[in-house]
Structures are given as C-alpha cells and as structure tokens.
Amino acid sequence: MLQADAVTVEVRGRAILRDVSLALAVGERVALVGPNGAGKSTLLRALAGTLKPTAGRVLLGGVPIATLDRSEIARRLAVVPQQTALPFAMKVEEVVALGRLPHEDPLRGTRPADRAATAAAIERVGVGHLLGRDARELSLGERQLVLLALSVAQGAPVMLLDEPTVHLDLRHQVEAMELLADLNERDGTALVAVLHDLGLAAHFFPRLVVIDHGRIVADGPPATVLTDELIREVFSVEPALVRLAATATRGRA
Amino acid sequence: MDARRSAAIPRGRTLPSILLLVLVAVLAACGSGAASPSAAVTASVTASPTTNVIESPSPVAAFPVTLTDDEGTNVTIPAEPDQIVTLTNAATETVFALGLGDRVVGKVEDFSVYPPAAADVPDVAKFGSVDVEQIVAAGTDLVIAGGSNFNPPESIARLRQLGIPTVVIFAEDMPGALADIALMGTAVGRPEQAAAIQGDIQEAIDEVGAATAGLDKPRVFYELDATNGFFGPAPDYFGTEMITIAGGDPLTSGTDGVYQIEPEKILEFDPQVILLGDAAYGVTPEQVAARPGWDVLTAVKDGAIRPIDDVIVTRPGPRLGEGLRALALAIHPDLVLPGASASPAASAPPAPSAAASAAP
C-alpha cells in the first residue's frame, strides 16, 4: 500500500538515497535500520510525501503521492510528530485532538466523531491518566505516548515513525515498542519505523530493512538479515552484542 | 477557498519600483532641507491683505465672506461669527485686540496668557491635541487654527468636515504676520480695527527702521534654550526676521526648521549681544557669563547680555510693535524711540512659567 519505486534523492549534488525500492503491504510492520547518515530519515520523508525525490517515485495506495494533496495524504498516512517545544500551553487531550485535523472541516470544526476518535485514541494508547495535564510538563516518555496517541487519532492505515524512542529510558522504550506492535497486530495499522536500536528493532519487528550509504543492503526477517558479516560491515560492531537482544522476534514474520 | 490567493504581495518589478520611489522621496526631502539664507527685510514692509474681501463700512454687509487662508484653502464664513475659537496664542491675542474678546468661547492652552481677560476663556486645545467635541458643543461658528502642524492637521480636517469654518494661519515672516492680522480681521468682521493694528505695527517698523538706519548691525545671539544643548533661531524663524528689522545681525542654525546650534558656532560667531529669550525660565546674565569658555565672547566682555520677553518678540500678534521696539532697545540700548513705552516691563520677561510657550 506504500511503495518507494527506485527513489533517488540528491541534495546539493550529494546522493542521499540511491535507487531505493521498498514496498509495504497492508498491515505490515517494518523497521528501517542503519548507521547514522545512511539516509533512513530521508527515506521516511520521501515515503511521507514531504520530500520530492530527484528520481523515482513514491506510491500511496497505488497512486503517485506527488499527485495527492496534503489533506488526502494525511487521511491515509500518519507521521508521528517529532518531539518539539510547544509555544503555548496545551492540554494532553488538545494535542491528541490535533490528529483529527485532516478530517476536520475547515469551517465547521470538530464533530462528535472527531471527539470520539480522540477519546478512543487516548484510551488505546493508555494516556488517560494524563488528561488535563499541560503537555509541556510531561516527561519525554509520556510526551512520546501522547504524540503516538495523536497519530492513532488520525486514524490512518499507515503510520510512519522517525526514531520514536530517542531520549526514552529503557522501560519506556519497551513500552512504546510493545504499543506499536500491538497497534499493528490488533488494529492492522501498517508501520514503518526508523530505529537506531538494533536490538529493539530485531525483537519487535518481523521485517528489517537495512540501509547503508543510501542503499538498501538487506530486507527481510531479522534472523536472515542480521548476519555476522552484515553487522560487522554496516554497523562496525561485534555481532555478539546484537545477538543477545535479537534471540526471539516477536510477531508474525 | 482553494482558489484564494494573497493579493497583498507585489511581485517582480513592482517592489523595487516602490522602494526606489521611497528612496527618491527621502533624498528629495533631505535636499529641500538645505539652508537658504533669508533675504534681509527692509524697514519698509507693507502688508497686503491676501483676501478678496468686500470693503464696506458696515460689518453686516461683509458677510458671507470667502477668504483664502494661509494654506490656500478657501473658507466661507456665512455670517459674522459669535462663538469664536482661537487655537493659536497669536490668534487669541488678536481677536481680543479686535475688541471681540467676549465672543471667544475657547482657546488653546497658553502659558503666557494675554490679555489677562483671556485667562477666563476655557481651554479647548493644547500642545498637539484639539478637543473637537468641546468645540462642537460650544456651537462654534469660526475657528482660527495654526498651520505648519501647530494644531494637528487631522483635527482641522475634522472641524471642517463637521461644517465649522476653520481658517488656518501661519506667519513665516513679518509680511505674513501682518497679512494674518488682516485675515483674522476680515474673518471676524472687524477689518478696520485690523487695519488699525497693522498701522500700529507698521509705525513701529518705520520708527525702528529710521532709528537704526546707518547704525552698525551688531552680531546677535538670540538664545531660545540652553538646558540641553543650545537652541537659537533657524533661518526661517519669525524671530530671525525680527532681529534683522531691529537692526541686528542674527546667528542662525543655518538650516531651515533646525533650531539646534553647536557651541563652536556660537564661539566662532562671537556675538556682540546675547539676548536671553529663555530669561522667563530663570536664565540670568550672570549664569551665561559664567559658562566655561564663554568669557572670550565680546558680549560677555562688554556685559551685553540682556533678558528679553520672548513672547512679544516672536508671537505674530498685535503686540509685535511693542516687541520690535523692545528688541531694538535690547540690541541698541542707546536708541531713542518715541513710541516705546517708558515702562521697563517692555523688555523684562513675564513671570516664569512651567513649560515652553510655542509661539507661532
């Protein structure tokens, strides 16, 4: 349902992505991994339609994403927002309610369906105990969950995440990962997540796409993809460290 | 709604053109500010009223009258005014001098009120603001306002929009001051009285001219203010011309509209006479003589530092003759002027007042 077709992205003469092709099926969840600067975030932005590739194209539901207008894209594809400073005080429920923006009529505002979706998202993600709190006062982990709830409220069949567990402590990382897996398995939301933690990626995602220097060097189940050779070559670390975390991959292959 | 485009952002060449226009305008303004020394005014100044007034012995037949004010606006006054508002100090003095003081229902705030009876007239305006509501409420049928931004042009426009005849005056020189007196006389229906006042002033001009003919013109520094830098006459200042008529050679700032004078210029000019227009604010000749570096000035050495009543010298109203005589005597103390009143009040300043009296 989301597909990158021979995407090349060049910025100021430098190729960030070279001839990348990636297909995401309905209900699939994929982790994009690779060393820093490999082009993972760039690929994600191209998939989200906010970055126009120099060559190649991205298809959303079989339609070139460049031909769709932003509202249309937002109804079918949610990108979990990066943690950012809020200029004004905002209650948690108001942050989550922003996820309904693509569905809102510009003039008529929120409808009962929107409010219901917001409430459902809050419950689904489990941040109901944070209701009424100023989003700026939450811990990083709590705020990440709130942003996740925002994307859930958006109600799109595909969700993209860029390093959602950065700055989180281990417990919250695991919580977030479990939630994502749950969203995928129970609600059928397709996921593409850029992750820097190979162990978490390998444990929670049945499909890994490894990117190095702008190219996809591996695409498949963690057990198959994470060979010793690849780990050494791409990540420059001893494979033993990674093996520990990736002993059992959760979820469908 | 998708088709809505912002119309407010000019594109392409419009923007540089607008910027160029602004730049040219600013440069033009800079250029026009350059000084042009005012021509010396000869003693025989004749006033020619710039009005098309129907001269007639009885005031009733003179209305309705249409006159052209100092801004070139044609103002029609339908009937002899009964409720007059004077928005400049000179206008207040003039209307009272024309014998119509009891018809003045509002005036501008004045820190050197003259005549004393004018103090009872309510203030409807002050520096930079005019209370249009009060003027309307008083049933005003004539307003005499000050041009050159003395009264806010907005307020003048408002009054006219509300149908109140408003005559704008501003006198840049002696002929202008005399013309304004005639203009005001016509506006209130007292042209003969105005002509009489003009005659008095002209008499003083002729008298002073005759008395100072052939005399050397001493260099005069007319001090307006010295609290924070030195302020003296600009070339286009009314007082500058007065000094010239009174037989003096005035120091000016060199630039029209600029009143600040650098101390070095004063020292270089080396005034022979220093007149203290700010004497009303407590500045004394002793203070001036004690200023560091000023002891080299001729005026200080000769003790020629004299206080003067700034109001009568620079207010273009009916007391100009008195002011001119006082000024001439201050510059040439040995002058004999038959018309000058013997009272020393002519040259001494009035009681100190709290704030500056702007005196167009």
Binding site: L98, A119, V125 | C30, P152
Partner: protein, 361 residues
Amino acid sequence: MATTPHPARAPGRLAVRLRVGRLGRAGSLALAGVVTLLVVLVGGIVLGTVDLAPATTVAILAKRLAGLDLGIAWAPTAEAIVMDLRLPRVLTAMVVGTGLAVAGCTFQGLLRNPLADPYVLGTASGAALGAAVAVLIPVRTVFLEFGLLHTLAFIGALVSVTVVYRLSRTGPLSPMTSLLLTGYAVGSLLAAGLAMAMYLSGTGLRQIFSYLLGGFDGASWLRLAVAAPLILGGTIAILMRARSLNGFLLGEEAAAHLGVDVRRERAILLALASLVTAAGVAVAGLIGFVGLVIPHLVRLLVGPNARLVLPLSALFGASLLAAADVAARMLGGVPVGVVTAVIGAPFFLLLLRHARSGYEL
C-alpha cells in the same frame, strides 16, 4: 498498560467530558465578550469631554438609527457629537482592535512565538517611515479623507513586510526563524531611516510623533467605510483558516503531515495578517499591546485552539481598544497606546497570578 483501556473511564464518557469542558468555558467567555463589547460601545457614546445626558444620547441614537421618536429634545450640537464624532470613533476603535488582536494571534501561531505581535515583521517601522516621508514631502493630497500620511503608512507597512518575506526566503535557517530575524533586521534599518526623517522634519516632527503614539482623533464615517472592509474582511478570512493555524502548533513539519499545505497557508496567513495590520496602522497609528496580550489572555482561559482564540481575541481586542480610547479621551487626550498598556498590563499580571485552569503562559 498499553493494551487494555483504563478501567475507570469508558470512551463514551470521556468523549462527553472533552466536549462539555471546552465549549462551556468558551461559550461563557464569548457571552462575556459580547456583553463587554456592548457596554464599551454604550460607554464610548455616552462618555466624553462634553457632558451629554445618557437619555439624550439614547434618544439621538434611536432617532438616527431606528427612526424612533422618544420625545426628548436635543441640541443639534449634541447630535453632531454623538453621530459624527463619538459613534464613528468607537466603531473605528473596535474595528482596529479586532484586527490587531487577530493579527497578533496569527503571527504568534505562525511563528510559534508567544512574544510575537502584529508588528514583528517590520510593519510598524515601515508604516512609521512611510508616515515620516509623507510629512517631509510638501504635498497635500486627500483621498477619501485619507491624507498622504495614511496612504504612505499603509504602503510602507506592506512594503516592509514584503521585503522581509522575500529576504527571508533565502538562507539556511528554517523559514520562520529566518522570517523573525529578518523582520528584526529590516525593522532596525527602517527605524534608523525614521530617526533621520524625524531629525529633518522640523515642525512636522509633531505630526510624526502623534502618529507614532497612535490615536483616533481623525476617525470619521468615510474612513471607517474604507478601513472596515479591509480589516474585517481580512479578519474573517483568517478566522476561516483557523484549522491551518492549529496545524502549525506542533511545527511546520508536523503541520504538513497533518494535511496542511504549509507553503500556501503560511503565505496566505502572513499576507492576511499583514494586510489587516497595515490597514489598522494606517487608520490609527502604532498602538501596541493589544495584539500581543489579548491572544494570550484568551489562551489562558480557553487553550490554544485557534478556532476559539481567534474569534474571542477579535471580541476582546475590540473592547479593549474602544475602552482605552474612551479612557484616553476622558483623561484629556492621552495617547491611546499608553492607555492600552496601563489598562492591560496590570490586568494581565493579575490573571497570570490567579490562573486556575492549569494553563500557564
């Protein structure tokens, strides 16, 4: 925790709680706003340096606006004062107050900066310089009761915003940061130009100065007829784009992901807010405080949702400025900008201390 709903709250009840909480407060605030507006309107007509009996005022209004004869006689000067001086003045102050508050809210939302006000992109400096240039030029023209000063102030405001916008497009910084910083730089340059113009202006200095301080002395029906469509039209257009403004709350990138056409909406909102500000500034000079604080006051009470903040800011901005103008008149011609600051600042501080809603600045 992530997989089962919290036992105490079912989604349905939660949804209801969400709804009642917001609308209740916003609704009562809107009501308060309308009432305040009416009170200020009446006050602005009844009060002034000339004493008019309230009954007379009501009678005049009834006759002129509704054709009713209330059997009270009045002098023609009273009618002129009410209909030609006070009424257009109060309405002009309201219109300008609306525009400034809405423009301030828009800039704050777009630039994601709580310290932004309508003048942040150089509009004030541009308008002031335009006005100063007009005073220097020895030409007197009047068009629709607007003099050269107002026209050049309007043009100056728009030109400076355009210059800032264009200059900020190039460069490595994020668009909004670039916009903010360029606005500061251009504003400083224009302020220098203004200082020079003021130095050269001679007697015109008074006029420039009184323009800078802002005021409604020149308010008239014709001016209102020209300015109101611009300001109110722009305001309504902004109100209709509240959804986009909400999108910007989490940043431009998040806005794009939420379906906002960032480039287009940013340009349109900036243009509308600048137009409204320029028109307000051309009519009333530079009046500060309204555009900065009213949106914050409203947010303290109803949160940052632009769908609520924009219209409520419009209401309260109108009331504040009209009230300030009445006070300025009664105090003998004090500049309006001084009054808005003196009324608004302590009130704002008080509210900050006692905010009970959990919102902070």
